[in-house]
């Protein structure tokens, strides 16, 4: 089976040293992959290139054999959903309207079709956002907002979901809720790629962790292999111990 994404020496430079330097990776369906690394390692840039939002990269980044920029925009949006790091909304859109925006690549008319409404209903249900569907998006808490944004991506019914730090600034309950949801989506066949700073969340939920450091892939393997103390020290400059949590999942304690 050919992978969904194949990146070959993909890189990005603006001025000065490259932000992302010759990254070679492939991603298959039905995986939850997290990308970790220090600030400025190029994580968001990598995700942006994969989402087709950073034109002008070097090397190759192909989704199903075609560069994201060369895909017809709407067709690509039916395949790949992208969730930005933060979303500041200026206008009084309701949560439901934000979710409905995920249907844009699927419908042509001015009004939503029954299929659109069905997708929105199920996205709201899956993410547990039904109780505040009619509330102003701006009045929601950080965690609720992130769930609504995730619901919008679910309503898009993509085969790949890219997320840039979906759980930053969220309380524990929402962090876990979101990663459970991502894991469920990947179990049902979706490729989920999430950038995160939380190594323990990555360890607990990811099938695979990619470590970026100074624009290069420093490691790419299962959580247990990747999160060795030597590597954490080398990449993040922090001493740590690796323990085994319940279910044999790795668990990091910083020293």
């Amino acid at each position: 089976m050919t992978p969904l994404y194949s990146l070959l020496e993909a890189g990005m430079r603006y001025t000065g040293p490259p932000v992302l330097d010759a990254v070679t990776l492939t991603f298959d369906a039905a995986q939850l992959v997290t990308i970790i690394g220090p600030n400025g390692a190029g994580k968001s840039t990598l995700l942006g290139i994969m989402a087709g939002l950073r034109p002008g990269h070097t090397g190759r980044c192909e989704y199903r054999g075609i560069e994201p920029e060369h895909w017809p925009r709407r067709a690509f949006a039916r395949k790949v959903a992208f969730i930005p790091q933060s979303l500041r909304v200026e206008f009084p859109f309701t949560a439901e309207q934000v979710v409905l925006m995920g249907r844009t690549p699927h419908c042509d008319g001015l009004f939503e079709s029954p299929a659109d409404l069905e997708a929105v209903e199920s996205a709201l249900a899956i993410t547990g956002t039904l109780p505040f569907r009619h509330r102003d998006f701006r009045s929601l808490s950080g965690g609720e907002r992130q769930l609504v944004i995730l619901a919008s991506a679910v309503a898009q019914q993509p085969e790949t979901l890219l997320l840039d730090e979906p759980t930053t600034f969220l309380d524990l309950q929402h962090q876990v809720a979101i990663y459970r949801l991502l894991r469920d989506l990947s179990r049902r066949g979706m490729l989920v790629v999430a950038v995160t700073h939380d190594l323990n969340l990555a360890a607990a939920f990811a099938d695979r962790i990619v470590v970026l450091n100074s624009g290069r892939v420093a490691a790419d393997a299962t959580p247990a292999e990747v999160l060795a103390p030597e590597r954490i020290l080398e990449v993040f400059g922090v001493a740590s111990e690796l323990h085994r949590g319940p279910e044999g999942r790795p668990w990091i304690v910083y020293g």
Partner: protein, 332 residues
């Protein structure tokens, strides 16, 4: 949610009904009282007053108000800022500068099109590109920086207009001052037809992309990741927005605050969905400006005050209130 379709028609038809009511009632109000039966029977002077002075004027106010409100909604979506309007961004003064330059240069027609119109459109487009250029450098800017950019451009355009006035001949100066005072005037029906033929298709084209404007009002990446071709949409916004603002300014002079008050009030009532917001803003803006113009020509009758004065007196305090509440919410 066949609900959303029903909501759409209810909102659009009720705002349209308000605009229709204003169209029927406003021509009856004025320094001379007239009535429809006499006017329609062709009796003088009711007939002339209705069809040659009041009705064209009300129609112009309706079209101009609708166009300004839609341009406001459009600029607010493009810049993701509720304070963006043709007036606050300096687009209206850019259009004024264009028009004044055309008067000074003595241009009347360029290829059968009125020169003032074209010059206003060009002036509006240049300013819009400038402001957007400043605004989008570094991805995002606060509304205060945006407003400062608008204020600076206003000042520059005003200075340029003063300069042109200074070097103009006496006759031109009179024409300029008269034009700058703005206000809705009785126009002939062929001008009205031209104006409608310009404004209505532009409004329609903007409305057709209402769903895409919803996404754009949230964010550019947000829209792009959902299949909207952002650069094409923005280009259509530039062209149609400056076209609307320029057309209105050419005929009615710089009129402020319609594009601010109307969209804001409607958002409180209807929410942010541009499918509702755009058509309802058109009709509400139309009714609002026609009412303001009726006030402008009746409050101190027989003296008429420019309609821009009325909208500014209503809109200025509202703008300050909006700015204050916005600042509070930013600090929270």
């Amino acid at each position: 949610m066949a609900d959303s379709r029903r909501r759409f028609w209810i909102s659009v038809l009720s705002t349209a009904a308000v605009a229709m009511a204003v169209l029927c009632i406003a021509p009856l109000i004025g320094s001379t009282s007239i009535n429809y039966s006499r006017a329609l029977a062709g009796l003088s002077p009711d007939n002339e007053i209705l069809f040659y002075t009041r009705l064209p004027r009300v129609l112009l106010a309706l079209l101009a108000g609708g166009a300004l409100a839609v341009a406001g909604v459009l600029f607010q979506a493009m810049l993701r800022d509720a304070l963006a309007t043709p007036y606050t961004l300096g687009v209206s003064s850019g259009a004024s500068l264009g028009a004044v330059a055309a008067i000074c240069l003595g241009w009347r027609e360029v290829g059968h099109l009125p020169a003032i119109w074209l010059a206003s459109f060009a002036g509006a487009a240049v300013v819009l590109f400038l402001v957007m250029g400043v605004a989008t450098e570094g991805r995002r800017m606060s509304s205060f920086t945006l407003l400062l950019a608008g204020v600076s451009i206003n000042t520059i355009c005003l200075a340029a207009i003063l300069f042109l006035q200074y070097i103009a001949t006496f006759g031109q100066t009179f024409a300029i001052v008269r034009w700058l005072m703005g206000g809705i005037d009785a126009v002939d029906y062929s001008t009205l037809a031209w104006f409608a033929a310009a404004v209505l298709p532009a409004v329609g084209l903007i409305f057709l992309r209402a769903r895409d404007w919803n996404l754009m009002a949230v964010g550019e990446d947000w829209a792009a990741a959902r299949g909207v071709s952002v650069s094409r949409l923005m280009l259509s916004g530039y062209v149609l927005g400056s076209f609307l603002a320029g057309s209105v300014t050419a005929l009615a002079g710089p009129i402020g605050f319609v594009g601010l008050i109307v969209p804001h009030a409607l958002r409180l009532k209807l929410g942010a969905d541009h499918r509702l917001l755009l058509p309802c803003s058109f009709f509400t803006g139309a009714a609002f400006l026609a009412i303001c113009d009726t006030l402008a020509r009746t409050v101190l009758a027989p003296t008429e005050i420019p309609v821009g004065v009325v909208t500014a007196l209503l809109g200025g305090p509202f703008f300050i209130w909006l700015l204050r509440s916005k600042r509070r919410s930013l600090w929270l």
